[in-house]
Amino acid sequence: MTAPQNPITRAIWDGTLPIKFSLDSAEAAELGAKVLVEPYFLEAPRCSYFPLLTSQIRKYFVDMTNMALNFIGDDAEIWYDVDGIPLKWHYPIGLLYDLHTGYRPDSNSPPPLPWPVTVHFKNFPIDKLIRAQAIDATQDFFMSMIKEADFLRNGSTKKVMNLSKNDQTQLLDGLWSSFSQKYRTENYDRFWSINYRLVTNDGQLPKHIPLRIYLPDNCPVIQEPIAPSDENGNQLTLGDVLHQILPELFPSPLPTENAFAAPVIHGVIPQLNIPILWASQNLCYPDNFLHIVVLLET
């Protein structure tokens, strides 16, 4: 089934972020760099994950700088941090950007772009991050998120599990190969041809909406089962959901003028009257989850 030519999903799929990867200077010295190693600029898709970028980053820093660095370790040794906070590699890049920069798109200040990320080759912080085998672990995590989403929707992961091998391959390839600009359209089609079924749940109303809410300052992630419609059968809106989950921050489900918290999805602040179901279907990340970052009024 061909993906719907929904411009919104298309726009979400195509979203990219310029990132500036710099090397920690002390580490550089340790690793034998004799000259200053210039930072590396990359345009990374919002829907991708950091481990997918690792090989290219490594290639630049180790190979292209005339072997300035003596790094012969595994890709899993490489980790990233922003302002000293290690980046969770199993979060999508867009989510991490929104969360860590805390930039309110409706503000007038210039966005922090390119996003400065520090690349580390040593001293993997085991206490803060889970070490993993780069791409395979990321893939497994991605699939487990999709299964979780399916479970939340249907109470079982039957749908995901029943996907044929071919369909799974389509799904994964579609996402993993999303890096190349050339094949972006192809990949979109490949991915969404399968994902469409998952997110629309074959016309059935999902039991719960798979969503997560992220608060700044290392707050624990909030994940609560939200039904798409209330007991009366009305569709819940985004505002309703937020009000339900975070009543202090969202005193009312309707947008007010002086709200001090705003949800950010994919770098935009959506209106609160968006039906949550539609949001979950169209605004979700590739892992079928609706990751909402709540930013406080500065």
């Binding site: 719907p4 929904n6 310029p18 600029f41 345009e43």
Partner: protein, 571 residues
């Protein structure tokens, strides 16, 4: 509402607001904002790639540059080397030169070494020279000393000729004495030869006389024979016999047999004609026990005047056959009358009857000598011994001239002729053998004639027969021409008395007498070939009988030291 297609068409119609459009706008704004750097990043990445490529090229170039510089430096180095050392050929030359120098240096070192060695040797040589000089000095001293010694000795030597001269003088004197003595001896020898010649002549004359007498006697005897036969049975003779001893010097031997030498010369046995009337002696005239020991042998002299006994007491006693007194017939017996005794000490001895001294001892046998006989002319003695040899001794030379190996121990040996060129011997192995003395070989061996050892052999007076006595208690008469056994004489009661028991012919060859084990003397008549008579007086076994050539007497000896003289014949 139940429709929730992802398309935004139906949503647009809700009155809640154009939230989709709003969303889209917001997204576009976002994109404009966030994708502002896309171009930059793209350019940047391409630059980075180019940079990378340049970096690679750079490293490659650096490497090649490094290798090029290395090569360059190598070449420079080589050039330097070449400049320094020249071309390889020059190098080789220099290397060779250096080698030569090295070799020369080594040679030089060797030469220094040899020089040092030579200096050392020179020193050693000097030492050796010094030691030699000292040795030479010592030698010179030695020479001086020896020269002095030499002088002394030569002085002594000078004295010697004088001494020698004196000695020569004495020698001369002695030689003169010797010469004179030799002349004397020569003279005496001449005299002796003359005397011997005279003697021989006298003997011949005497013999001629005797022959004449004998012929006369023979004629007379022929008459007597016939007369005697008639009276033979009834005759008994008595005559007085006086016995006289004649003792000889004791000897260390036991005579086994005694023979008298034949006094006559000439080839014909004269004994035959010499005898008196032959009658079988039957009466004992005299019985004597002259010896202390066993009597082994008894023999009468060729003329019958004497008989001798040899005994175990190591004496030979000679008796006069008529009177029995010892006689010293000096003049009568002027031929060298000797008695030969064969003895147990492996020697034969010859006594001179006149002096009674031993004339000759014949040693050489290695066994007991059982028989010793003179040959016809008394020049030789023939001995037969138990060492299985027969020896012929020359009396003049005094030693054995022939030894004949006789295969068996010889009990008795008799010459068949006067010169003693043929012998007959009787042996322990029962055989009779005939020998030729000149060749030393046996002529004939008669085996099987006796069944016991032959104890005595005697030749008949006519020389044609041989009588053998044996321990098989028989006597046999063998014809010498045909070597046949002519007669066998035996009798009941006749048993040979000893291993050396002697039997003998009567002087006329008609009878044979033998002594027996029990002491009986048996007389056989040969012509009639039967026992003629037995006489008994002895008690002990008879060891020998000897018929006197005179014919009428018989001497018998027994083992019990008794000698009997028998006579018979007409009174």
């Amino acid at each position: 509402m139940s429709t929730f297609s992802p398309t935004g068409a139906s949503a647009n119609s809700t009155p809640a607001g154009n939230w989709q459009g709003d969303l889209l706008v917001k997204l576009l704004v976002r994109d404009r904002r966030e994708k502002a750097f896309t171009d930059f990043v793209e350019s940047y990445n391409s630059l980075v790639q180019k940079l990378g490529k340049f970096a690679e090229r750079n490293t490659a170039l650096e490497l090649s540059e490094k290798s090029a510089t290395e090569k360059h430096t190598n070449l420079l180095r080589e050039v330097d080397i070449l400049r320094e050392q020249g071309s390889p050929s020059n190098q080789k030359k220099t290397a060779e030169l250096e080698q030569q120098i090295q070799a020369l240096k080594e040679e030089l070192a060797d030469l220094y070494k040899t020089r040092g060695q030579n200096a050392q040797r020179l020193l050693d040589m000097n030492d050796v020279l010094r030691s030699h000089e000292e040795a030479a000095k010592k030698n010179q001293e030695e020479i001086r000393r020896l020269a002095e010694l030499n002088q002394a000795l030569s002085a002594k030597v000078d004295l010697h000729p004088q001494a020698i001269r004196e000695k020569e003088v004495t020698i001369q004197l002695l030689q003169d004495e010797n010469a004179t003595l030799q002349l004397e001896i020569g003279k005496i020898d001449e005299r002796m030869k003359d005397l011997e010649r005279e003697n021989g002549q006298l003997l011949q004359r005497w013999l001629k006389k005797m022959n004449e007498e004998a012929e006369k006697m023979n004629e007379a005897n022929q008459f007597y024979e016939s007369a005697l036969e008639v009276h033979a049975k009834a005759l008994e003779f008595q005559s007085g016999v006086v016995i006289v001893d004649k003792e000889f010097t004791p000897m260390n031997n036991v005579p086994k047999s005694i023979t008298f030498p034949e006094a006559g010369t000439g080839t014909i046995r004269t004994r035959g004609k010499d005898f008196g009337p032959v009658i079988i002696p039957t009466a004992v005239i005299k019985k004597i026990t002259p010896h202390d020991g066993e009597i082994h042998s008894i023999a009468s002299s060729y003329d019958g005047s004497m008989f001798a006994t040899g005994s175990a007491d190591k004496t030979i006693k000679i008796f006069d056959s008529t009177t029995g007194w010892s006689i010293m017939h000096v003049s009568f017996n002027n031929t060298n009358e000797m008695v030969a005794g064969a003895s147990n000490d492996n020697a034969a001895r010859l006594w001179h009857l006149k002096t009674g001294r031993i004339r000759l001892t014949l040693t050489g046998h290695v066994g007991k000598v059982y028989s010793a006989r003179f040959n016809g002319d008394s020049t030789k003695v023939i001995t037969g011994s138990h060492d299985r040899t027969i020896k012929v001794w020359d009396l003049q030379k005094g030693y054995c001239i022939r030894t004949i190996f006789s295969f068996s121990s010889c009990n008795d040996v008799v010459p068949l002729d006067d010169e003693g060129t043929t012998l007959v011997s009787g042996h322990l192995d029962n055989n009779l053998r005939f020998w030729d003395v000149r060749s030393g070989k046996d002529i004939k061996e008669l085996t099987g004639i006796h069944l016991g050892q032959i104890t005595s052999v005697s030749v008949s007076p006519d020389g044609a027969k041989v009588l053998t006595n044996s321990r098989d208690n028989t006597l046999k008469i063998v014809d010498l021409r045909t070597y046949d056994v002519e007669q066998t004489l035996h009798s009941d009661g006749y048993k040979t008395g000893a291993n050396w028991a002697r039997a003998c012919f009567s002087p006329d060859g008609r009878y044979v007498a033998a002594g027996s084990l029990d002491g009986t003397i048996f007389y056989w008549n040969i012509q009639k070939s039967k026992l003629e008579k037995t006489t008994k007086d002895h008690i002990a076994p008879i060891c020998g009988v000897s018929w006197s050539p005179r014919g009428g007497q018989l001497f018998s000896a027994d083992k019990d030291r008794t000698v009997c003289i028998w006579t018979g014949g007409l009174r």
